[in-house]
Symmetry: D3
Subunit: 221 residues, 6 copies
Amino acid sequence: MLKVVIVAILALATTLVSAYDPSPLQDFCVAINNTDSAVFVNGKFCKDPAMVTANDFFFPGLNIPGNTLQVNSDQVKLGSSVNLVNVDNLPGLNTLGISLARLDFAPYGLNPPHIHPRGTELLVVMEGTLLVGFVTSNPNKLFTKVLNKGDVFVFPIGLIHFQFNIGQTNAVAFAGLSSQNPGLITIANAVFGSNPPINPDVLAKAFQLDKNVVDYLQKQF
Amino acid sequence: MLKVVIVAILALATTLVSAYDPSPLQDFCVAINNTDSAVFVNGKFCKDPAMVTANDFFFPGLNIPGNTLQVNSDQVKLGSSVNLVNVDNLPGLNTLGISLARLDFAPYGLNPPHIHPRGTELLVVMEGTLLVGFVTSNPNKLFTKVLNKGDVFVFPIGLIHFQFNIGQTNAVAFAGLSSQNPGLITIANAVFGSNPPINPDVLAKAFQLDKNVVDYLQKQF
Amino acid sequence: MLKVVIVAILALATTLVSAYDPSPLQDFCVAINNTDSAVFVNGKFCKDPAMVTANDFFFPGLNIPGNTLQVNSDQVKLGSSVNLVNVDNLPGLNTLGISLARLDFAPYGLNPPHIHPRGTELLVVMEGTLLVGFVTSNPNKLFTKVLNKGDVFVFPIGLIHFQFNIGQTNAVAFAGLSSQNPGLITIANAVFGSNPPINPDVLAKAFQLDKNVVDYLQKQF
Amino acid sequence: MLKVVIVAILALATTLVSAYDPSPLQDFCVAINNTDSAVFVNGKFCKDPAMVTANDFFFPGLNIPGNTLQVNSDQVKLGSSVNLVNVDNLPGLNTLGISLARLDFAPYGLNPPHIHPRGTELLVVMEGTLLVGFVTSNPNKLFTKVLNKGDVFVFPIGLIHFQFNIGQTNAVAFAGLSSQNPGLITIANAVFGSNPPINPDVLAKAFQLDKNVVDYLQKQF
Amino acid sequence: MLKVVIVAILALATTLVSAYDPSPLQDFCVAINNTDSAVFVNGKFCKDPAMVTANDFFFPGLNIPGNTLQVNSDQVKLGSSVNLVNVDNLPGLNTLGISLARLDFAPYGLNPPHIHPRGTELLVVMEGTLLVGFVTSNPNKLFTKVLNKGDVFVFPIGLIHFQFNIGQTNAVAFAGLSSQNPGLITIANAVFGSNPPINPDVLAKAFQLDKNVVDYLQKQF
Amino acid sequence: MLKVVIVAILALATTLVSAYDPSPLQDFCVAINNTDSAVFVNGKFCKDPAMVTANDFFFPGLNIPGNTLQVNSDQVKLGSSVNLVNVDNLPGLNTLGISLARLDFAPYGLNPPHIHPRGTELLVVMEGTLLVGFVTSNPNKLFTKVLNKGDVFVFPIGLIHFQFNIGQTNAVAFAGLSSQNPGLITIANAVFGSNPPINPDVLAKAFQLDKNVVDYLQKQF
């Protein structure tokens, strides 16, 4: 019985749920990342402020290139890598409404069409040449641009966007995002790779695809 | 010269830009829908409150079934129809954070996978049987349910969702959305039907499709 | 002693306090509805997201007419019934800023003057004929309209409004509200039926009523 | 013709619509109070910041007692006076989310039951003895207290509240409100004194009053 | 072991962290001020609403002059005193976005340059003569004014401001602030008196001061 | 006369006032940067969305090192340079809540103690070694850290912070800020270099400095 009690208490801190937009109500509210969890809040529980140290606001290693040879969980090799510093790995970001990412691209590497449901992305190219774009809500207008070293581009919150290395060399970019937990919806994976899969009739009709193609795609993702 | 001046002034009211989340700062702020426009704000300009009448808060005709035989702008027949009452056609909704839709479905009609970037949808079925679902951000978990008459289901803001009539009769639903301008991104159209089209290399790589298939799809949407 | 501990832990989830406006900080944050409670937050504590199922986003039965013959808690028969689907009975609504209601009216049934302090109401008439209206803040202007089947009307947040069945048949309406917990202040009940009662000198002076009438009214509500 | 143009331009600044909750997007945004107006925004248009002076942030005369002998617009003598400093008379308050009021009470003077739809009120008594209270949303619980010099009490946003001088001397209080335009709904006036009047059948049924009494009250307010 | 459990539970309520801007999600959410704490939220945990009484919204004693002879924690006698009523001593203010302060000044007393990072201040002079001012963000423009009895002045959120008694008598003022926890950064103390001290090379270079002067100042504060 | 009219109209777009926190109410709202201005809003007026192009979301040149030899406007050579990309030079950022900066430091260069009143800063070091820190609101605790290449550190909104190159080589950093117009208050300049100057009695008393030193400092800044 007592064991149950302890588990329930540890549950007050959590890993999976994270925080975003509402204003901070104190100087800071450093997230607690416990792995046992049963009770959550909108955002994250916080650490006792008297226990907070400078390390809670610190994250190292963003100078290290990401592995663009990785095969992602859906067995698709895209030739890109995103290292996101958000409230999950930099707990001091909690309640503060910002995160940061390093993006690496092999030649012809792609960060495929995706949405951040809770954040605008502001990207600066450090090395290489990227074709980038975003599509507005209906009607669907594409805004696209080729970016070189030092170029900055903004992808508005909630819109589908992508970055594609059209150069023959590696490319590197950094991006700020307007949330400590911007979220990520990779369109192809969400549509064809959800768990459980979406009813194939829905996808065949929506994408004007033969059901065999839908079946093939659902196996890929 | 004077003509130019007048046009610029009319431009203060606008049709295309609409309003959503920030709190109202007065009892109401009825949107002005002018078609000449050159200057905009975050949301909409408003009507002189002394000129406002009850009709500014009124919209008729939601008892009329939508045309589910329609062929949408991308020449795709889905067998569904959505009649959305938002700030564009009910100007009194401006600054008030809510809208309403009537959804009609022919047998096997589909409201295809889409996102409302600025609104949660709360749906109630009036007639028929719908298979509905939404997919979370990565990792992509599908939550799905069969709904009958009187059933209510919620689709959280910013997530991909769909409604599919799996019955042999027409289906009707009403939905409230948590914004006066929730926005709509129909996934298939935004990805394969944007104007101009997304670079086909991007889509072929992202969706694991042969470029011929991408080319075919881009012609459909 | 141990018993006390357990009760305190259960208190983390609660029934009475509910959530509304601040943005969601994750895809969803399904409310936990525990009845034992001692610790609360602004809004509601949430369920472990790994335990969430489609049923957490589901509520059945809104096809069933409300009982318009009911006598409310203040022994007043108004001939109306409101069935509200909010975060208290549809926990998936937590943090998502919307709720839904079914309103039934007997002939001459009244939903009396009331305020939703945290929500705008957007109503559509399904059957019957309603006289509706809202009153602005000082100076008090009435906006009023007769609504028939398919008509939509918006009642701005925080303003006094009412719906009155002026037809000889039953009337039915559905309404979206811009909060998962819009709140409800029925004016007559709040003023004349509070517990404990408001000092009758205050009410007699405010409403220009004889103290005997105030006394009578305080007994009614 | 030119005259029309000029009027339209002046219309960009307005008196009647005011601003409240959304965060300021610059150090300040001093409201412009023009009397000609045809175009409005959520909140107020602002003055050129280069033209702003210290006087835009200044308002004199809150040391002067209000006239508690006044007969208000509804011909009701309540023995109280409220002098509100909000964005309408202190334009520097625009976008800053706060206002201030001086309240004067003759012996037995009453600030009758009312609601601020957009603001919490925090009151401090300077002189005299006040009976104060507020009523929660349904179910309607009254929280009440007798306040003396130096006592502070908070009335939460959107709830019905009142202040009543139960002493035999004048009373004075100051109050901060959490909006530059908190709004004011005096319950009795809004219900019985709206323009045009609410259908008397609605009021008779809602307040359990004889229609003759409703008729009498509608003439009073 | 059981003891550990109990401490962890008490930790759910806390003294040090407080709440501000996001909208209230219920009528009220009275803060709990426990001194044992290990788990926090953005803002404060709340009391069971069924246990709330009128005293939770009440704070006495603001008629008592502050001690302007006090020597503050940095051993500096400034001749002023601020008595702030915020969510820490008036728990009913939690989630409601407002606080109140009484300011007392001895002749030539100073409330030194400071910032409220989470609140605008709206001040009214009750007695005496104050020189007040605030400085905008870069470029740094000073807005300044001499205030007498009954004068009101607003200091926008996040800007450096001060109040200085330039009269030969005591001065008294009241101020509303647009947050239940506006925060306070006294510039001189934060810069020269932080714990641990800021690197003196930083301060010498930033303030164009000799390192001996910086060393002297860091000993003062 | 006509000329006056035209100027007033152009005034609808503005350079000096910028936008930040409230949510976007449409996909984007690209700021208009006109230099003539007489009417403003909270934030910025926007461009006709039909006229928007990809270049509105684009800013080049952040690969170019800033000039760390510059003498700033107060004739102080600090050995640092900040190139901020915000809504003033990247109009597509309007309403989107994020900005980006490149920071260059000569050896021993200093970005002196300052505050962003409307934004948290998230910094990543690209080259060199920086001593960084921030000070909490009262009581004033310093959080400090030495950062090397690839290290990330967060400076919470509204708190005093600094970055100091303690290496013998140049240093470069990039920073995201959680507002399209975060604002900047350089403490030493705002206190000692405002225009007009703050009353020297105030500064002498606040900083415990001899009036001659205050006089000297006010001439420096």
